[in-house]
């Protein structure tokens, strides 16, 4: 069985904590998602928080925007780590799908997350 990947949600203000809380309210509490905020942090501090949250194993880093301090810190942490992938534009549907498929390899998980996240954006 593949190793369970950690999901680290990295966002401005309290957004990451809110997304993780919402995902756990819907999907049930677990250890799959960890929130990281950039509040009052420089890039090095954000990266240190990501490192602590992601650990040494496989991880997918879900970032709010494809730019800015959260994105930079995530990209720096992921650089050279084969078992870590970055997904931007995090939303609740992609997180819920992620926690339901925890053993996918991070590269596959990241592709799946972008698909599921995009599918959830509609104008019915």
């Amino acid at each position: 069985m593949s190793e369970v990947a950690r999901g680290v949600v990295i966002a401005h203000g309290s957004l990451a904590a809110a997304l993780v809380e919402a995902a756990e309210r819907i999907g049930g509490p677990g250890e799959g998602l960890v929130a990281v905020s950039n509040t009052e942090c420089g890039r090095e501090q954000i990266e240190a928080k990501i490192a602590a949250a992601a650990g040494d194993g496989p991880a997918v880093l879900f970032v709010d925007m494809p730019c800015g301090s959260c994105f930079f810190a995530a990209m720096h942490f992921a650089r050279g780590r084969e078992q870590v992938r970055v997904v931007t534009g995090v939303n609740l549907p992609m997180l819920l799908d992620f926690v339901n498929h925890p053993t996918l390899p991070p590269a596959e998980s990241a592709i799946r997350a972008t698909t599921k996240g995009a599918e959830a954006i509609r104008h019915p």
Partner: protein, 157 residues
């Protein structure tokens, strides 16, 4: 159009710069002055991803910036000059005078720094550098966003 802001911010290009200041000041050009970024195509590409298409970004070293600053001042585009480090901005101000005002936009905690504001941490050496620059006639204030009141350097001691 002169350079509208000389900003020290260890996050360099990020939302406060591009949106918080960029929109109300109609910024069309950002000069990112950092020796390490100037040597890394990978980092430059990341920063370019954070800039909307209507804003041009130039990444250069301190030495290059000292040469280019007069051109930036003569450029018709409203601009911001960014550095991540206090020492870099102080050196640029001295190499390419005159700079009327420097803004401390975000300097976060590192070993040796102490909190002056929630978004400004400084070492004693950084404070001395800034005070020396202020004594040379440069106005130095902390201000993270246009909507927050500027805080004079004298209040950060």
């Amino acid at each position: 159009m002169p350079v509208l802001s000389y900003r020290i911010d260890d996050r360099l290009v990020h939302g406060q710069v591009v949106i918080g200041w960029g929109k109300p000041m109609n910024i069309e050009f950002i000069a990112l002055v950092d020796d390490a970024v100037a040597e890394s195509e990978w980092e430059q590409e990341l920063y370019r991803m954070g800039v909307p298409t209507e804003i041009a970004l130039e990444c250069c070293s301190l030495a290059q910036a000292a040469e280019r600053t007069p051109g930036w001042r003569a450029d018709a585009r409203p601009s911001i000059v960014l550095t991540a480090e206090v020492a870099t901005m102080v050196a640029l101000c001295r190499a390419a005078p005159p700079v009327e005002r420097v803004v401390l936009g975000g300097l976060h905690h590192k070993p040796g720094r102490t909190a002056r504001l929630p978004y400004v941490y400084l070492t004693g050496e950084e404070l001395q550098l800034l005070e020396a620059l202020a004594a040379e006639g440069v106005k130095i204030e902390a201000q993270d966003l246009p909507t927050t009141p500027p805080v004079p350097l004298s209040a950060l001691r």
